[in-house]
């Protein structure tokens, strides 16, 4: 029943409600796909038994005429950064390899209570630090897309939510959770030809998500349609007293204006995103996106975000600083790996040297340096001030426009092994996604078309704080205009 793995959340719900198939049949079709595409390495831990049990519970509810919500019975992949009770949660790291949380993260708990069916824990860059899913202790993830023209090189899925993106693109899961610190939902969505939504900071609880950079981390949905992203966010979002940065606001109906069109809306195109050396195909898809919105009645205007080029350097001070603090907890005492030493300090040092991979050590050391005595003001405090300027740019722009359109990433998915020798080259992948992260704004990547090589390219929309309703509305218009129907060959 291969048709079952092509369904959207909306399609699955319709089929389940009308009795065309059971949640168990739907789960089994996806479990089969997971087994068939094991070579993608999209999952760190597969949970097929749990999926069938979740599906049976969903079927039992439906038989009684009950429903747990719009995702009841929908098979999903859970990024392995969410703590899941009784299911190993590794963050893609050796240091957390044996960790089995005795509690459930708020967001995964909401999805569970909402009846979704968990297929497994999706692979990711170690501690969500990466843009290619090559830093996972459990090996890289393969992008199901390959270029045309006989170039069979294995492509990266983007990162850090690379396993989630690959699973959704390869029709292993109907949807997946991601987390986004500087682009970790949106860039892999772009590389894999799916939709990825990073909500406003504070919209989804961070409680129980392994922390990377606490002022930036935000969970969000990864799906194959904009409508599905709105539906899944509806289940994930909401105030949580257990996260003091969770916004104490009511959750709107994110799909309220889904099909309201963009007539009369003002869309900003920031001139500073036209960076030197931007590939022609990226510029082309960006122009195409603007034309699509204009053709539907939107007013597309050029805007200025003057501090754009400082967002990435600011990010690479703030995020490592927060990471160095957050990751101090991995000391071989309370959970995870312990490597003995002659005394307590050497045990810490040995444990962390063996437990962390190179990229994580790099960021911890950068963070430690920029927070250390004598350097704090020059680096960390300075970055916090520039961050204020980045936020001010957006605040001023949003006095003028309803949403901002940019490319999601400066390239299509690159080949495994490329950009691996130079960390700064790798960091540049997030040049278009990081500014919105710094400002805590909601943003979404929607498939816009294919590159010259036949690989997906995403369009990126940035919205006003807590205005995901308008963001989804504009994204839907882009999706309809793009009519993106390409899919990775063989999936």
């Amino acid at each position: 029943m291969s048709g079952l793995t092509d369904l959207t959340i909306a399609g699955a719900r319709a089929g389940l409600d009308s009795g065309d198939f059971s949640a168990r049949e739907l789960a089994q079709a996806h479990i089969d796909a997971m087994a068939q595409h094991k070579a993608l390495n999209a999952f760190i831990t597969e949970t097929p038994e749990r999926a069938l049990a979740d599906a049976d519970a969903s079927d039992a509810r439906r038989a009684k005429g009950e429903s747990a919500g719009p995702m009841d019975g929908v098979p999903i992949a859970m990024k392995d950064l969410f703590c899941t009770e009784g299911v190993r949660s590794t963050a893609g790291s050796h240091i957390l390899e044996p960790f089995v949380p005795p509690y459930e993260s708020t967001v995964s708990g909401k999805l569970k209570a909402g009846g979704s069916v968990m297929l497994g824990k999706a692979n990711l860059d170690e501690f969500a630090m990466g843009s290619a899913n090559i830093t996972s202790y459990f090996g890289p993830v393969t992008n199901p897309w390959v270029a045309g023209g006989g170039d069979n090189r294995q492509r990266v899925p983007g990162g850090s939510s690379g396993g989630s993106a690959a699973a959704v693109a390869a029709r292993i899961a109907i949807a997946a959770t991601g987390t986004d610190t500087g682009g970790s939902i949106r860039q892999p969505a772009s590389f894999c030809g799916i939709v990825g939504l990073k909500p406003t900071y504070g919209r989804c609880s961070r409680w129980g998500i392994v922390a990377f950079a606490s002022s930036l981390d935000q969970a969000g949905p990864m799906t194959r349609t904009v409508e599905d992203a709105a539906t899944m966010l509806q289940v994930m979002a909401g105030h949580d007293p257990k996260d003091s940065t969770s916004a104490p606001y009511d959750t709107p109906n994110f799909a309220e204006k889904l099909r309201a069109g963009v007539k009369g809306l003002k869309i900003g195109v920031p001139k500073e995103y036209r960076v030197d050396g931007m590939p022609a195909e990226i510029d082309r898809i960006w122009h195409q996106g603007a034309d699509w919105l204009r053709a539907q009645g939107a007013d597309v205007v050029e805007i200025s975000l003057p501090h754009t080029k400082y967002a990435l350097p600011t990010y690479y001070i703030i995020a490592p600083a927060e990471a160095s603090s957050n990751l101090a907890r991995y000391d071989g005492v309370r959970y995870g790996l312990r490597v003995p030493g002659k005394d307590l300090k050497e045990m810490y040092e040995n444990t962390r040297a063996e437990g962390f991979g190179a990229e994580v050590k790099r960021r911890i050391m950068i963070g430690t340096y920029v927070l250390s005595a004598g350097y704090y003001d020059a680096y960390y405090l300075k970055a916090q001030k520039v961050r204020s300027l980045i936020l001010r740019d957006f605040t001023q722009a949003f006095e003028q426009v309803d949403a901002i359109l940019t490319p999601t990433a400066p390239s299509a998915a690159f080949a495994l092994g490329e950009k691996q020798d130079d960390p700064v080259q790798m960091y540049l992948n997030d040049v278009f996604t990081v500014p919105a992260s710094m400002a805590g704004l909601p943003a979404i990547s929607v498939p816009g078309g294919l590159s010259d090589e036949g690989l997906p390219l995403g369009l990126h929309l940035i919205g006003k704080p807590f205005d995901e309703v308008t963001l989804v509305q504009v994204a839907q218009a882009l999706e309809e205009a793009a009519g993106f129907s390409a899919r990775p060959a063989g999936y």
């Binding site: 504070g202 312990r338 045990m347 962390r352 950068i366 920029v370 916090q384 204020s388």
Partner: protein
Amino acid sequence: MALDQATVARIANLARIKVTDDELQAWATDLSAIITFVEHLDEVNVDGVEPMTGVGDFPLPLRADKVSDGGYAEVVTSNAPEGALGFYTVPKVVE
């Protein structure tokens, strides 16, 4: 600014990550490239700009200073690589 080996050794010590002597130079080169990259911020004038310490525009919530959870040391310590009797154990720190 280029970081030297002594600086890397100091950072690694603060971060409690063991770095061997023969790894120091590679880390110095690696970290220097990133520090040079972030030093682009030197161009930005931030006179009179307040640092941004968080994103939310709402005040941090308060709650009553009362125990709201707990009483299951075995569960809390269930992931300890070495533990005993509901406690964590560490190498001896007092002679």
